[in-house]
């Protein structure tokens, strides 16, 4: 089998830039979400459609990112 319909895009989630990668393998769509900086994958999901996989992964991403604190550095 081969990955089909590979897409990659960036968007803002909760004030953080993330990169969303989605592709289909067989009957399953896989979505992974990385933070743009430093580029670490922190959420993923599967679904029977692209929309379902991305919606699940984005829901997780939003939840995890809400727990990331920003500190003053001065």
């Amino acid at each position: 089998m081969k990955a089909e319909g590979y897409t990659k895009r960036r968007q803002d989630v909760g004030g953080w830039a993330v990169e969303i990668e989605t592709y289909q393998l067989g009957d399953v769509y896989y979505c992974t979400i990385n933070n743009v900086d430093p580029g670490a994958r922190f959420a993923r999901a599967e679904g029977s459609t692209r929309e379902e996989a991305e919606a699940k992964a984005l829901e997780k991403a939003g939840r995890y990112l809400a727990q990331t604190r920003r500190f003053t550095t001065g």
Binding site: M1, K2, A3, Y6, Y30, T32, A43, F71
Partner: protein, 275 residues
């Protein structure tokens, strides 16, 4: 291209080569089971590439068993690849070099490039005939421990390279966005230079050219004329930078500080610099 890097094309042509063992090592330990390069075995970095009792690299006996059951002997060419721009492929590469394996290579671009190119994937695990592997004692010249890093920070005798994101370096965040905080203090080791790992890579996950990499590090005063210690949060991103400095640029004295910020940023009394 340095002989430690192979292209996705090259790998596609060698999936049935008995002298080569292809190994996938991912941050996402479920990725291998979704589909992998035909013939590749999968290693789990959380259980198979470390000591699971104490915080340490994989013990020698465990490494020998892992390689043996993966069908690897001392003459096998190991080709590593993985997700996240080969973070944990580089982590495996670093440990294999510590234990003296001669021919280890990384598939440039990793899993991301293989998938983006719509290359063949399988969920079948290869039938690997077990082999006997004999590792060398670990070469600690490739690894920095806390005391050496403290000396480097105090005396500036070695260049410290912090490969985390700028926000981690300044202490604005304590971990990459979306991941659990794993330290008590944010900031960086005094004297360290910020050269994020991502600057080593192109958008497709491949490494930048040697000329571009030389310019990147020279611009920060890193030219290989004195020892270099790379660190990040847990040591995997810094193993990628270690790979670049040691094997793509050929700098002689480069160490990976795998204790990294999860050690330094939790250490009572350790000096921390901000921003």
């Amino acid at each position: 291209m340095a002989n430690v890097l192979v292209t996705t094309d090259w790998v596609a042509q060698h999936t049935n080569d008995a002298s080569i063992r292809i190994v996938e090592v991912d941050v996402d330990t479920t990725a291998y089971d979704q589909g992998h390069v035909p013939g590749a075995v999968g290693w789990n970095w959380t259980t198979e590439l470390c000591d699971t009792l104490v915080r340490d690299i994989i013990p020698i006996k465990k490494l020998e068993e892992l390689l043996g059951r993966s069908g690897v002997d001392n003459k096998t060419t190991i080709v590593l690849y993985g997700d996240n721009n080969n973070w944990f492929a580089a982590w495996a590469f670093w440990q294999l070099k510590m234990y003296g394996h001669q021919d280890v290579r990384i598939m440039d671009g990793g899993r991301k490039k293989w998938i983006a190119e719509s290359r063949e994937l399988t969920t079948d695990k290869p039938n690997t005939a077990p082999k006997t592997y004999k590792a060398s004692a670990p070469d600690t010249s490739l690894r920095a421990f806390l005391a050496e890093v403290q000396q480097a920070s105090a005396g500036q005798k070695a260049a410290l390279v912090d490969v985390r994101s700028p926000a981690e370096f300044t202490g604005e965040i304590l971990a990459p966005p979306g991941l659990p905080e794993t330290c008590q203090r944010g900031g960086h080791i005094p004297g360290a230079k910020s050269i994020p790992w991502g600057k080593n890579c192109n958008d497709d996950g491949t490494f930048k050219s040697v000329d571009d990499l030389k310019a990147l590090y020279a611009g920060q005063g890193i030219s290989g004329d004195k020892p270099i210690i790379a660190y990040c949060r847990i040591g995997e991103r810094s193993s990628l930078t270690w790979f670049v400095l040691k094997h793509l640029l050929g700098f002689q004295n480069v160490k990976n500080y795998d204790g990294s910020w999860t050690e330094w940023g939790n250490l009572v009394g350790a000096a921390v610099e901000k921003p």
